[in-house]
């Protein structure tokens, strides 16, 4: 069952066609990786699906509903969340605040003007619980910009999870990490995939091949190929696209 479907999604930036007539389905409960060289249109695709930019043509359907022109916050409330390739946290705010904001929204709060935040104990508890789960207890008051890169990478994903999405889009979650942290995130993603539908943009082929149920290969804004890891490994067109690059699919 397709949780997300795009139909003929196209986006131009000036003379450049960043996303070209992209049509695919994302199956519910599966982990789909989106791979391709830089500039293939992966992040733009994410931006389109999550409402940051509007497509020039095409449709996006989530759970049977057309979400093509909805604003970001509405799409999020429908159950799609995403993390960012370049860390996109509230850098000057404390760890506690960063997590709190997501939890607060998910629990339906925000507009309350006249009650101070310490009255919201369920938000507080959930925030502490999440921070404990990612192993950062004790650092609640630390401004996020002072945390280690690895911790911030985990936080990047964690914050996108506070919305309790049914579909999560991760954008290069292991970017810039050492192999130990990569494993950590890789396992984290495996655990997540049992709870929700994941789309992951990744460059690390080991990670991609080990965790993916389905792989979509993009090149110059188009979908070059899609299939399960074995099919993609053996695909000539894909090999060609990566030829000469830093990626080897052997």
């Amino acid at each position: 069952m397709a949780i997300l479907t795009t139909q003929g999604l196209t986006k131009d930036f000036g003379g450049l066609r960043a996303v070209d007539s992209v049509t695919f389905d994302i199956e519910q409960g599966k982990l789909t990786s989106v791979i391709g060289p830089n500039g293939a249109g992966k992040t733009t695709l994410y931006n389109l699906v999550t409402g940051l930019i509007k497509p020039d043509s095409g449709r996006i359907i989530f759970n049977g509903e057309d979400i093509t022109n909805l604003p970001i916050h509405k799409i999020v409330k429908k159950g799609i969340s995403r993390s960012f390739q370049i860390l996109n946290l509230f850098n000057e705010l404390a760890l506690f605040e960063n997590v709190w904001l997501g939890v607060q929204s998910q629990q339906g709060h925000g507009p309350e003007l006249f009650s101070t935040t310490d009255k919201f104990s369920s938000v507080k508890e959930e925030t502490y619980r999440i921070i404990k789960e990612i192993g950062l207890s004790g650092k609640e008051e630390v401004p996020v910009k002072l945390l280690s890169y690895g911790d911030r990478r985990i936080l990047e994903i964690t914050i996108s999870l506070t919305a309790k999405p049914s579909l999560l889009l991760l954008d290069e979650p292991t970017s810039g990490l050492m192999s130990e942290d990569r494993k950590r995130i890789s396992e984290f993603m495996k655990k997540l995939s049992s709870q929700l539908t994941l789309i992951v943009v990744e460059h690390d082929m080991d990670v991609v091949l080990s965790i993916s149920d389905h792989i979509v290969v993009m090149h110059q804004g188009k979908i070059l190929a899609q299939g399960n890891p074995d099919e993609i490994r053996g695909n000539d067109k894909v090999q060609e696209a990566y030829l000469g690059g830093q990626y080897c699919l052997v």
Partner: protein, 324 residues
């Protein structure tokens, strides 16, 4: 245990310190004589605190809030002279009417940021200035309105407070200020306030957390307008008149400057400090030098170049870089 922490946090809040200073100000030798100046400091503090919800907490640079101050000022004056010579109704009107127009303007700017936001607020405030200048039947045009007295507060059969005496009016304004400060404190420490800060830090991420940021921005804008209007109304009652200058962009510039000068971008109380320093220096300067505007302008330059985080930012050092 938890309740004692909450209690002790309340007691140690710098707010009480500020309130006590204001309460005892009239009794301080020499400077305590300048009661009206003190009243002016308090109402500008009120204006600046409300404004800081928008500037310091949400990060939106409005350079047109003088208009809402002015609308409040004129609303109080017009209602007093044309509708009802009371105290509460004109003041209520200054809050509501200023709030109404702020809400309206807010719709225009809620989806904007940065330069565009600033430009539009400047332009819009000019419209109100011209209206005040030109719509003579309503606003008295260039000569403005006068004869707006301060009516007594009377509790029938009990007592009556003569607000026309400067010191009584000072304490009246102080009481309003204290209530508003507590209110603003609550607002910025509420879930709403937290979302405003998120918007300031990273609006896109805030959207991705599910917040309809345009509505929050509009909300912050409108709320600051209510306080601006109230301050304007109080000012009209202070000087018993309303002139077009209350609306011009120097007022807008003033409130931004005092908010920044005191350290509104790093501290809740920055605007109060800034208002005090600004109003007092301006008064001193203009008394002793006819060309004081030169220094006035240069102070702006100085603050922007050397103490952009304001005085409280300077004192606080590296510990606190942003407002919480």
């Amino acid at each position: 245990m938890a309740s004692r922490n909450r209690w002790s946090r309340w007691i140690s809040n710098p707010m009480w310190f500020v309130f006590i200073i204001f309460v005892f100000f009239p009794f301080i030798p020499y400077i305590g004589r300048y009661i009206s100046l003190g009243t002016e400091v308090i109402l500008w503090s009120l204006f600046a605190l409300g404004f800081n919800i928008l500037l310091g907490y949400t990060g939106l640079p409005s350079f047109g809030h003088g208009a809402f101050f002015g609308i409040g000022a004129y609303a109080a004056g017009i209602f007093f002279l044309r509708v009802y010579k009371g105290l509460w109704i004109p003041l209520m009107m200054s809050i509501l009417i200023a709030g109404f127009f702020t809400a309206l303007v807010g719709l225009l700017v809620a989806k904007k940021r940065g330069i565009y936001f600033a430009l539009i607020t400047i332009a819009v405030s000019q419209v109100f200035y011209f209206i005040a200048f030109r719509w003579e039947e309503l606003t008295g045009g260039e000569t403005g309105l006068s004869g707006i007295d301060r009516v007594n507060i009377s509790f029938p059969n009990l007592f009556s407070i003569k607000l026309s005496t400067p010191i009584n009016y000072y304490y009246f304004v102080l009481v309003i200020f204290i209530l508003c400060t507590l209110l603003i404190w609550k607002i910025v420490h509420s879930p709403f306030g937290k979302v405003l800060q998120a918007i300031r830090e990273n609006e896109i991420r805030a959207k991705y957390l599910g917040y309809n940021t345009a509505v929050y921005k509009w909300g912050a804008f409108t709320i600051s307008g209510f306080f601006a209007g109230l301050a304007g109304g109080l000012y009209t009652l202070l000087i018993n008149s309303a002139f077009p200058f209350v609306l011009d962009w120097t007022q807008s510039g003033n409130v931004v400057m005092m908010t920044l000068l005191g350290g509104g971008t790093v501290n809740f109380f920055g605007p109060i400090l800034g208002a005090a320093i600004f109003i007092i220096s301006r008064d001193l300067l203009s008394t002793y030098w006819e060309s004081w505007m030169l220094i006035y302008g240069l102070i702006f330059v100085f603050v922007i170049l050397f103490i952009p985080s304001g005085i409280l930012g300077l004192i606080g050092g590296k510990k606190q870089t942003i407002l919480r």
